[in-house]
Symmetry: C4
Subunit: 199 residues, 4 copies
C-alpha cells in the first residue's frame, strides 16, 4: 500500500532509518549495504518501501532503488524466506549478482548469505529460476528500466508472456526505437512480432 | 476509510498506479480499462479509492469515477466474488453495460468477463437484480449524479425506500426543478409525493 | 488513535461525510442529526473521530463535539451495543437527554431509539448509571468543559474518585475561582477538600 | 512504524495528548510524569512514539526523549509486562533510576511501581540484567547519545557484541576523539581494539 516515502532523514541507524514526512516520523528497516549510501541527517531522501502487515505490528522495509524492492518482494514468495532472510540477501549482494547466482545455479555464492545453507540455496534456485528473465531486463541501462517495466507489464496484461515479447523489446531498445509513450511502444512491439511471424 | 487520494502520478502500470500525496507514495490497484485514461507522470490526479484490509496486507483499489467505485463495492457483496473478480468486471465493461446485462438477465454478456462462467453469471443476476434501480440513476447526466445520490440517501435515511421516491426524483430532475441545497430538494420530493397521494 | 480530522468537506451524505485532509479523503460515518449541521462542500470542518479496527475493515466515526464522541465511546462499552447501536442513540437524541434518561431510569425515552427494546434499555440503565456523574459535568457551560475534563482526569490519575472531587470542582467553578493552568486548579481543589475535612 | 509525531498540541490530558499533525489529530498515550512537561495548547511538540497494533485497536504511546521510548520497548519484552505496566514504570521513575535498580538488584525500588510486586520485580531483574550495559551509555552526556547509539549499532551489525566494543567507545568518547561521521568512528574503534590485542 505504501510504495515510497519522500521526506528528510531524521535519524540513521545501521539497520533502520527514520524519515520525517510532513511531521510523521516513519521508521523504515533497511539492509546493511544501504547504510553508507544514506544521505546525512536533515537531507532529503526518497525511499521505495514495502509495508509488512503482521498480527501485532506494521513494519516498513525500504530500498534506494526499485530493483532491490522488486527482489525483496520476490524473495518473500520463496517458501521459508521471511523479511529477515530477504534483507540478509540484499545485505550481502546486489540484485544482479543474486540473479546471476540463481541463473547459473551457483550455490557457493548463495550460501555466503547469513542464514542460507545448502538446502535454502537449492530451494531458492528451484523456486526462482523461472523468474530469472528479470536478469536480462536488469542489464539494461538503469534509466530505461521504468519504461521497459511499464511496457513489459502492459503486454502481459494483453495476454503475452514475458518470454514471447522480451526479445522484441530488447531489439527495439538496443536500436533506440522506443519512445516515451507506452501505447506507442506496444504498437512497435506487436508490429515487430507480426513481421517476425511473416518471416 | 480512505475514499480518495489526490496527488501527483509517480508511476503508471497497467494494473496499478503510484500516487504521491505529500511525500507518501500510495500504490493503488486499477482495472485495465483505466490505464489509457491515466494522466502522465507528474500530472495531478484524484482517484476514488476502496481500502481492503486483509490479514497480512492492506490493498487500495482506485477508480476515476464514483460509479465504478460504487459498482466495485456492490460486486464485493456477491458471494464468491473478491477484489480480483470485481476488477475483472470493471476491466471488461462500463458500469452501465454491466447493469443492463443484469437487468436483462443477459448471461452472454456477463460470461465475456474473464473468470465468470455460466454459474457465476447466474449468481450475479440473482443477487444483484434488486439493486438494479442503480441503472435508472446511472442514465441521468453525469454532473447531476452527486446531487441525486445525496438526495436519494437523505430520503432513505428518513425511511423512504428507493422505489417509493425514485419516480418523483426523476420527474423533478427532468423538469430542472432540483436546486443545489439537499434540504430544499427533500421538501420538493415530499410535496410531489403528497400531491400524488391526493390524486 | 485518530482523535480528529481537520480539512475541507469533499462530499456530504446523510450517514457519512468525506473530508479532504491534505489530499487524503477520509470517509467518516456520522449520525443523522449531524447531517443538517454539516458545512457545505469545500468549506472547512474539524470533526472529532473514533477509529474502529475490525478484522477486515477500518471505520471512522465522527462527531462535531467531544461530548458526543465521549458518549459514543461509553456506549461501546455496554454489552450488546456496537457502533451501529451507538450511532442510533446519537441519531435520536443529544447526550444530555440520554444521560437524563439513564439517571431517571426513563425506559420510555430510551425505547424511542431504533433497535432499543425494553431489555436493551434496562441493560443501558444498569451498566451506565454509575457513569452518570458525566451528567453534572455536561450541565456546566460548554466552553468550561475542556478545562474541567482535564482537571477531573488529573485528579483521577492522583487517585481521587470522581464523586470525591466533583462537588469541590463544581463549587470552585460556580465561584469563578478556576484559572487556565491545570496544576493550579489541582491545588485549589485539594485545598478546598482539606478545609472540608477540618470542618 | 511511526517513530515520532511533530505538530501542535491540540489537547493535554494527564494520561494522553492529542497532537495536530497537518490536520490529523493523533491521540498519544503518555506516562503521568510527562504531563507537567508538556507544552501548552497550540504550541509545537515533537514526541517519540511507539505504535501498538492490537486485534481491535491501534494505540500510540509517546515520550519526550528516546531513552524513555527505548526503555518502554525493552519493558514490553519482559514476560507479563504489557503497555500499561511499562507506562507505570515510566510514570514512577526516570530510565536511569530504573536501570540502576536492575543493575543493583534493588527490589525495594522496583516494588514502588504500581502493579509491581516482589515476583514481577525479580522477573524484571532476571530478564533485564544482561541488557544493563544500556546503563553505561545512559550516563554519557545526553547530546552525545545519538552518535554513540549509531556507532554501537553499526559495530553490532558488523558482528561485535556490546561488551566487546563498549570500553573502547567510552575511552574514545572520554578523550573527545569521536567525530560526527559514523564510518570514521568505526575505524577508530577497530584500531583501538587492534592495539589492545597487540598489548
Amino acid at each position: 500500500m505504501i510504495a515510497f516515502l519522500k521526506g528528510a532523514v531524521f535519524e540513521r541507524r545501521p539497520d533502520s532509518i527514520i524519515i520525517d514526512v510532513n511531521g510523521v516520523g516513519y521508521e523504515v528497516n533497511i539492509h546493511s549495504r544501504l547504510f553508507p549510501r544514506l544521505p546525512q541527517r536533515g537531507e532529503p531522501i526518497l525511499i521505495h518501501t514495502f509495508l509488512q502487515v503482521l498480527e501485532n505490528e506494521f513494519k516498513l522495509f525500504g530500498f534506494l532503488d526499485q530493483d532491490e524492492l522488486r527482489l525483496f518482494k520476490t524473495l518473500l514468495t520463496v517458501s521459508g524466506i521471511g523479511s529477515k532472510g530477504a534483507l540478509a540477501v540484499l545485505s550481502t549482494m546486489e540484485p544482479l549478482v543474486f540473479y546471476r547466482a540463481i541463473a547459473s545455479q551457483d550455490e557457493k555464492t548463495l550460501v555466503r548469505i547469513p542464514g542460507v545453507g545448502k538446502k535454502t540455496a537449492q530451494r531458492m534456485i528451484f523456486e526462482l529460476q523461472d523468474k530469472v528473465p528479470e536478469l536480462k531486463l536488469v542489464e539494461v541501462e538503469k534509466e530505461q528500466r521504468p519504461l521497459l517495466d511499464e511496457l513489459m507489464e502492459a503486454l502481459e496484461i494483453l495476454g503475452y508472456s514475458r518470454s514471447e515479447v522480451l526479445p522484441a523489446i530488447m531489439d527495439l531498445n538496443r536500436n533506440k526505437q522506443l519512445g516515451n509513450i507506452v501505447e506507442e511502444n506496444i504498437k512497435l512491439v506487436l508490429k515487430a512480432k507480426a513481421q517476425e511471424m511473416r518471416r
